[in-house]
């Protein structure tokens, strides 16, 4: 925790690096409540297709969405590496997102983060608020509130 605080004080942020397909994405660690292995997801009928259903997280019922479907990619194939990241967002409350793999946690300094101009021609481009540059290449940083609120 202390480390995190010191980090944010200096204008740097920590991100969890996840993989979806071949691309790496970053999720701001301050939104992350928990990372859970795949559990049974109960389908909820008549909701948007990217909403995979609900899971039981320590006695609470939490909705789970698929980042892949949200981004217009192929449906998830659950593997041993698949994880559900539980996020706590201001507007949407607690939700889980399914990712292909969780890789690492990186700390990005302010100068390592570059804003991207949102490309209106592409529907899902504005999920990515900025791009982070680190040793292992580029990471697209997700704007989670946009990811969670935008409807299909």
């Amino acid at each position: 925790m202390d480390e995190l605080k010191i980090g944010t004080n200096n204008g740097s942020m920590q991100y969890i690096v996840i993989k979806i397909g071949d691309e790496s994405y970053g999720i701001n660690i301050s939104y992350v409540e928990n990372i859970s292995r795949m559990v049974h997801i109960t389908r909820v009928p008549k909701v948007a297709s990217y909403l995979k259903g609900v899971i039981n997280l320590r006695g609470e019922v939490i909705p789970v969405m698929s980042l892949r479907l949200k981004m217009g990619l192929d449906d998830d194939v659950f593997t041993k590496a698949s994880r559900i990241i539980i996020l706590k967002l201001e507007q949407a409350g607690t939700i889980g997102v399914i990712v292909d793999e969780v890789k690492e946690v990186v700390t990005l300094e302010e100068e390592q983060v570059e804003k991207v101009a949102s490309d209106t021609s592409q529907d899902h481009a504005n999920f990515v608020s900025s791009v982070g540059k680190c040793a292992n290449g580029l990471i697209s940083l997700l704007d989670l509130n946009v990811v969670a609120t935008e409807k299909e």
């Binding site: 109960t42 009928p45 008549k46 909701v47 259903g53 609900v54 039981n56 006695g59 019922v61 969670a148």
Partner: protein, 698 residues
């Protein structure tokens, strides 16, 4: 001293007192001579005043104080109860309720002084002749009595050890034209919250100046480590009388004495200091000084802290008062639960031979958890009285605004419901009552013409019916004019004239529950303000209840509200559809039938079955839930017959799992768009199963 910890109790009790005042004043209006009622009112007003004072809500205290004065005069027989006085008193109660709700939201009473009300109260007092003076005289009497205690009591503050620090402060204050005062405050011996009183005294003094020293120390006072008096040294530019008056303003303070410090008071320091210096040199002096310097800022901090806390935690938690017996039985059950767990543990440890014992233990465990559930439910139950008891007052007010004569008869106020339901049911019931008063009852002239008694009657009956509580709102008014509703619905385009032909009068009446359907010819103040019957219906349905109406033109109508006893845990039938598990509330299930596939018939191209002479439409759940059924079309159908009001429908499921007690969990706002899923539950294996809302399916 932080009073915010008492806020919850304060709010609870204030509401109780206000409610009792409401009821009692209503009674007083009926029978203005009843001494018992008057005494009861006086007591409630008095405790309200005391409580508001303790919590430092001055405006509330002022208002209740003046009310109490009026009641006290009534009690002494000096003032007669008059209708306009009752009106003013009711307005006062409304104002107090406003204060209370503002306190509940922001821990602050707001800034409304309600001066017109206080003036009106004083006018009543003065109208009663010279009686007001007697109140004042009494106060003086009380004052005259108090200086009696022994003189050394008054001078207690002199016991405070003065040091060089005080002396330098004293000199500085003198230079600024301020004074140092020593004050001893005596708290009434009956006072319960001494620390709270002391805190208020400190607060009052700090408005005028600064407190330098206190005895006992401020920490001890906060912890209530003092008898019935404490002393302070304060520096202030106000006069001693102002300070004493400010202190006496705090309730339950018996008296305060004080005087200004003079040079002579400090003369003693020199002598004692020399003694001290001779013995232990400045070593002792230094820490003492630090201590005294440190104290004033510490003191200043406390009020600031209270304020901050109050702002950051505005919403008070909801509480339920629980009978200690109910808690005892809970405790017993919990111990039984532990025993059951232990026997299960030992059963698993021992040999296979004990295997049949195992199921015995499970049965025991089951019976314990069932009783535990019942007990917890009982703890959460509160009588609906807390909600319905405000209705007589409302009807009284409605009488005046509507100019109709009516009487409210209530039965079954003691019927108990879950606290969450009771909290929510107030508004819908109020709306139904207003509706009955405004639309239902005819004006006095019409009633006379029709040979009905001039005074209209509204009934509110509550009773328990199995696992439901039924609340009926009935009036002997005009009833619902089905033709008028039909005409209106056609005019609005809600239904076509052809549809109207085929609809039964019951179906027509049900149209009233559609949004924005108001048959009131003109919008009055009472109804037609946008909250229609549709809101009533949706609110009751949100509580998993239902509402229906029966009406006979010319004779009146009855609105029947049916509510489940509790919300959190229900008995449900678990079924599978396409391999997925779903729960259906047992409350809505009539029967379960095994129907051969060839018995399905078609009416208007919809599937129906005939069951004991009834034609029942069937709903294939796998279609509704977008999933493949695991059964082939030739198989017999497993049909769960559910009921909503008078309507029946058959839900086709794949398999039955069995009956189970389930705990209802919310699915969160993110996913709540699905209208026939009312919630979710977590099964024994940790999986989530969805709960089907049979009402929404029909």
């Amino acid at each position: 001293m932080d009073v915010s910890q008492y806020l919850e109790i304060f709010l609870d009790e204030t509401k109780e007192h206000l409610q009792s005042l409401n009821t009692q004043i209503l009674e007083l209006e009926q029978d203005s001579e009843n001494m018992d009622t008057i005494n009861e009112i006086f007591r409630a007003a008095h405790s309200l005043k005391g409580m508001a004072g303790t919590m430092g809500f001055k405006r509330m205290q002022n208002l209740t104080h003046d009310m109490e004065n009026v009641f006290s005069e009534v009690r002494n027989g000096n003032i007669k109860v008059q209708p306009n006085m009752i009106d003013i008193l009711f307005q006062c109660l409304d104002a107090l309720e406003e204060y209370t709700s503002s306190i509940q939201e922001s821990a602050d009473e707001g800034t409304n002084d309600n001066e017109p009300l206080i003036k009106a109260l004083n006018d009543i007092l003065n109208g009663g002749g010279g009686d007001a003076a007697s109140g004042g005289a009494k106060k003086e009497e009380a004052k005259a009595e108090t200086p009696a205690p022994a003189a050394n009591d008054k001078e207690k503050w002199r016991e405070i050890k003065l040091t060089d620090t005080e002396k330098s402060l004293y000199e500085a204050a003198k230079a600024e034209g301020k004074n140092l005062y020593g004050i001893t405050v005596k708290v009434q011996e009956t006072c319960i919250l001494k620390a709270a009183r002391a805190f208020l005294v400190f607060k009052a003094l700090e408005e005028h100046g600064e407190i330098i020293l206190s005895k006992p120390s401020s920490q001890d006072i906060e912890d209530e480590k003092f008898d019935f008096d404490f002393s302070v040294i304060t520096v202030s530019d106000a006069s001693l009388d102002t300070l004493i008056a400010a202190i006496k303003n705090v309730s339950e303070i018996e008296d305060a004495f004080g005087s200004a410090l003079t040079d002579a008071d400090f003369a003693g320091i020199e002598a004692s200091k020399e003694d001290a210096a001779a013995e232990e040199a400045p070593a002792e002096e230094a820490p003492k000084k630090e201590e005294t310097v440190a104290q004033p800022p510490a003191k200043k901090e406390t009020p600031a802290k209270t304020e901050k806390k109050a702002v950051s935690k505005p919403v008070v938690n909801r509480t339920v008062r629980v009978d200690i017996e109910k808690l005892d039985s809970l405790m017993n059950l919990v111990s039984e639960l532990i025993i059951a767990k232990n026997s299960l543990v030992s059963a698993t440890n021992s040999d296979e031979a004990n295997h049949n014992n195992f199921s015995e233990h499970i049965e025991y465990l089951e019976s314990v958890t069932t009783s535990l559930h019942e007990s917890v439910m009982k703890v959460r139950m509160v009588p609906i009285e807390s909600v319905v008891s405000k209705f007589p007052r409302m009807i009284r007010d409605l009488q005046k605004t509507l100019g109709k004569k009516m009487e409210l008869y209530m039965t079954g106020e003691e019927t108990e419901l879950d606290r969450t339901v009771v909290d929510e049911i107030g508004d819908p019931l109020m709306h139904l009552l207003r509706n009955a008063a405004d639309h239902g009852l005819e004006s006095a002239e019409v009633r006379k013409e029709r040979g009905k008694p001039e005074v209209g009657s509204i009934f509110l009956d509550a009773y328990q019916d199995g696992n439901n509580v039924v609340i009926e709102v009935r009036d002997d008014g005009n009833g619902i004019d089905v033709d008028k509703v039909r005409a209106k619905a056609i005019e609005r385009g809600t239904i076509t004239p052809e549809q109207a032909e085929n609809m039964s009068s019951k179906e027509i009446i049900d149209l009233l529950f559609l949004p924005s359907f108001s048959t009131a010819k003109q919008i009055s103040e009472v109804s037609g303000r946008g909250v229609g019957l549709d809101v009533v219906k949706s609110k009751i349905e949100a509580l998993s209840g239902e509402v229906e109406v029966k009406s006979k033109l010319g004779e009146g109508s009855t609105w029947i509200v049916r509510l489940p006893l509790t919300l959190a845990i229900i008995q449900a039938l678990m079924v599978t559809v396409g391999g997925e598990k779903y729960a259906i509330s047992l409350g809505s299930i009539q029967t379960i039938e095994d129907i051969p596939a060839n018995e399905i018939q078609f009416v208007q191209s919809k599937e129906v079955i005939t069951l004991r002479g009834n034609v029942i439409p069937i709903i294939r759940l796998n279609d509704v839930l977008d999933i493949e059924s695991t059964k082939s079309p030739e198989d017999n159908l497993m049909v769960v017959i559910v009921k909503k009001g008078d309507k029946l429908a058959g839900l086709v499921v794949d398999e039955l799992i069995g009956q189970q007690e389930i705990v209802i969990k919310s699915m969160g706002k993110y996913i709540s768009k699905c209208k026939f899923i009312s919630g979710a539950t977590i099964l024994g294996d940790g999986e989530v199963a969805l709960i089907l809302d049979a009402n929404a399916l029909i």
